[in-house]
Symmetry: C2
């Protein structure tokens, strides 16, 4: 039994054939080239699906279902993508467009962060666990919540936006319109900004040698960590402050859900134990449940970029 | 069919007979007199249960189950109340103590805020709804979460502590050890403190006339609202700032869960539309899901103090 998972991203479309053990058998991708008419984007989705099926050495007839992770919000009753800013979608009849182009009736859509969380929950860091939260530290802070084995989608399928929980009252302006959202402090984008701010203040920090060409525009999510590893005090301060913000949001999540496992992935998440070791200590000092026998385990994500397509393929289950 | 719900509070023990329509048939109560030996407290719980049963004109033989809402955390596997600071309980074998004293084998325990949320979800503001969050603005900020018709209790039954979500980075010291928790800004306790602070700064505010005996110690959660209603500018500012903090936490909850209904109760919640009208506007301006067709409804709690015993009686379902 095979399913298709599609990651419809702002930059690339990735389709994969996933087997019943949640393993990817074959993959195909193409640039999204958004914004352009939805019909054209769905033509390309169908093309990558067929390419992946062909690479897998199977035919569409053995495909049980197609699941798509999309930016924005999905209206499952009306079978629309209601709004996806970076794709230029507005009440797009996504289910219909996909069925017409693939001949497959069992199509499912959900938010991309939710798909990634579902993938990690079922086939990755949360395997075997029923209560699980996944956090992704990338351009923003994405999150997906699994309670009792099921995605928490809320009344309008836009739940799980914990990156847009305010942790700094009247703090930095967020793209969502609020001020002080967690993602303004704990995303890779935020870490890069915090790193640059510190470099501007300290002309002697080793981070100037670490960053490519000494060019502040080339700072990335690793720069401050590399500086810390080189023993630089300014870099260490940047990392420690960043970890403080990260721990703050993670404790908010734990006090809310007390999940069995809380997994952290995304670009900054690649620091794994360098990041999670100290963060666990900060979290432990703050959680409300200190008297409980069982505690949430904070672990690195396991599936990397594959979480999204694997999770999308799982949308029918 | 009848069930017993018990609200084991730091001040009073309240037991109620609840019928299958979630109506309270009879109630009995006694002071908790905590801290004292758990055996004595459970003697009194059994006494109030028997008194309520007798008042209801029934016998223990028709009681299906007994549910207890308790402060602190419950370990359901080990059948203990792990820790309840204000009762002086520490790994107390609560299930056994209750069974021995009542002859009823079907006994259930959960956190009191969770019970109140379950009561509102099933028999009050959330009747007929599967995804629901209840917030109580009292001494602290309590919250309980219902996803897919079930209480979210987490791996250690201490989930739902959204009052201890930080909204003000490095803000006011909270009793839980963190700084800037929502309950430090949106509880009745916090509103009273904010009211007093404003009165100290403004000797001409009408709130000095409103508060009993002009005594700042007698400020309560209504004082600032009464001042606002009397057209006082300082009082209006206090209320507006308080509403801002409240809306901030509510939006955090909505961005996380997108529940069908979010109900607000507790002492300050008694202001109902005076509070919720303006707060709804603040929330609407901030939620992430503005493009979704369906939105969370923010409504007042309906069951008042009865939510806890009704919810406790529902713990077996």
């Amino acid at each position: 039994m095979y399913r298709i998972g599609v990651d419809l991203g702002g930059t690339n479309i990735v389709s994969a054939v996933v087997d019943e053990n949640h393993k990817i058998i074959a993959k195909a991708s193409t640039p999204t080239l958004a914004p352009r008419p939805a019909e054209e984007i769905f033509d390309d989705i169908a093309k990558t699906i067929k390419e992946a099926v062909s690479k897998a050495g199977i035919t569409m007839s053995v495909i049980e279902s197609i699941g798509v992770g999309t930016p924005g919000s999905v209206n499952k009753e009306k079978e629309l993508i209601e709004f996806a800013n970076n794709l230029g979608f507005d009440n797009t009849p996504a289910y219909k467009l996909l069925r017409e182009r693939t001949g497959c009736n069992n199509v499912y859509f959900d938010n991309d962060a939710n798909c990634a969380a579902l993938g990690e929950a079922v086939a990755g860091a949360g395997k075997g666990v029923k209560n699980f939260v996944a956090v992704t530290l990338g351009t923003g802070v994405g999150s997906g919540i699994i309670v009792d084995g099921k995605l928490v989608t809320g009344v309008n399928y836009t739940a799980g936006e914990m990156g847009h929980m305010v942790i700094v009252w009247n703090g930095e302006q967020c793209t969502c319109g609020r001020r002080g959202c967690w993602e303004r402090y704990s995303s890779a984008t935020a870490l890069i900004q915090q790193t640059r701010d510190a470099m501007v203040i300290d002309p002697f920090t080793k981070m100037w040698d670490i960053v490519e060409d000494g060019d502040i525009r080339k700072v990335n999510g690793k720069t401050a960590f590399d500086g810390m590893r080189a023993g630089d005090a300014t870099a260490t301060k940047v990392v420690e402050k960043y970890m403080g913000y990260l721990a703050c949001g993670l404790v908010n999540i734990i006090n809310t859900f007390q999940p069995e496992i809380l997994c952290v992935g995304g670009g900054v998440g690649n620091e794994k134990e360098n990041l999670l070791g100290p963060v666990r200590k900060l979290v432990k000092a703050q959680t409300y449940s200190i008297h409980a026998e069982k505690q949430t385990k904070i672990v690195p994500a396991e599936l990397g970029n594959d979480a999204g397509v694997i999770g999308a393929a799982l949308l029918d289950s």
